[in-house]
């Protein structure tokens, strides 16, 4: 994906009110793979005794990242929505660390996209969480002479 398209995608994702509220930044987006990160913020804490970020905030990051991965799939996707998303929490994220999610749209059919994602903090050796999801898929109507996928 060229730089202009990435810049447009970044602007689009960072303009989503809830993504803005969580301070999400699009780090990269290419052919069905998205990387989005989110800063540590005391307002997102789920356990006041440890300062660990709430699982819900990680879910929001994973969902946004999964949707972005689907949108960037090279088969001309114009719209998507989450059908289901399962998140497994491996370990608590380290308080103070930025959380980065990487989502990959690894298979698409005519109407459905399949996504897997991982999230990690500064320690990249073991993910904080992993996710799998199914998303709806809307494509631009095929022009004459073009086959359908």
């Amino acid at each position: 994906m060229d730089n202009r398209k990435t810049a447009a995608a970044r602007q689009f994702i960072e303009a989503i009110p809830h993504s803005r509220a969580l301070g999400m930044v699009l780090d990269s987006l290419e052919d069905g793979v998205a990387v989005i990160s989110m800063p540590y913020d005391p307002r997102f804490v789920g356990d006041p005794q440890t300062g660990v970020i709430h699982g819900g905030a990680v879910s929001a990051l994973m969902d946004t990242c999964g949707g972005a991965a689907v949108m960037s799939h090279p088969t001309g996707v114009i719209g998507t929505a989450t059908i289901d998303l399962r998140i497994d929490y491996m370990r608590p994220a380290k308080p103070g660390d930025r959380i980065t999610a990487r989502a990959e749209c690894y298979h698409v059919t005519r109407a459905v996209a399949f996504v897997r994602a991982t999230a990690h903090d500064a320690d990249t050796s073991l993910p904080v969480a992993t996710a799998t999801g199914a998303f709806t898929l809307e494509r631009a109507p095929a022009r004459k002479g073009e086959g359908t996928a």
Partner: protein
């Protein structure tokens, strides 16, 4: 013949229960950030997510962000589970809600996994959720949660989560 204990005055009972609920809900910054409140009827809780601009995920429709929906369901599930643990301690007199503050909360259950089904678009209005603890063991719990907006029978999302129970020092 033993004399039956006089029932507690209703205000004392309500104050105790509301104080305990307030402590576990208001002690969590992320619940405050999303603006989630809980309504109580006896031991039954309903989570309420008042609509706010910052919850939007698709400005064109507009629709609530899927991540907000997931977070709302997860919060409703964890609070329901925590509440069920606290309820017994509190009603038996082992726990005094007056001692609860953000630094002295009971340990909360930890999420092992959480699955969300998105059934309908989350509309730009208030959302409600109720959770049901289907299994609450010594170490693990399974909780189901349903969320709706205008009509209780038309769910916009449902979820199931598994949770690791907090260690209880008294065994």
């Amino acid at each position: 013949m033993t004399k039956r204990a006089k029932p507690e005055p209703v205000q004392v009972v309500k104050e105790r229960r509301d104080a305990a609920l307030k402590a576990i809900v208001h002690g969590v910054p992320y619940i405050q950030f999303l603006g989630i409140e809980f309504e109580r009827r006896g031991d039954e809780l309903t989570a309420v997510l008042p609509f706010d601009e910052k919850l939007i995920g698709n400005p064109m429709l507009p629709a609530i962000h899927g991540g907000v929906t997931a977070a709302f369901l997860e919060v409703a599930a964890i609070i329901e589970l925590s509440w069920s643990l606290i309820w017994e301690e509190m009603e038996s007199g082992r726990l005094d809600p007056k001692t609860l503050d953000p630094n002295h909360l009971p340990r909360l259950p930890k999420t092992i996994d959480f699955t969300v089904d998105y059934l309908r678009t989350g509309l730009p209005r208030d959302a409600y959720a109720r959770a049901r603890v289907n299994r609450s063991g010594r170490r693990y719990a399974s909780v189901h949660v349903e969320a709706w907006q205008d009509n209780r029978s038309r769910l916009f999302a449902q979820g199931t989560g598994h949770f690791l129970m907090p260690d209880r020092s008294d065994g």
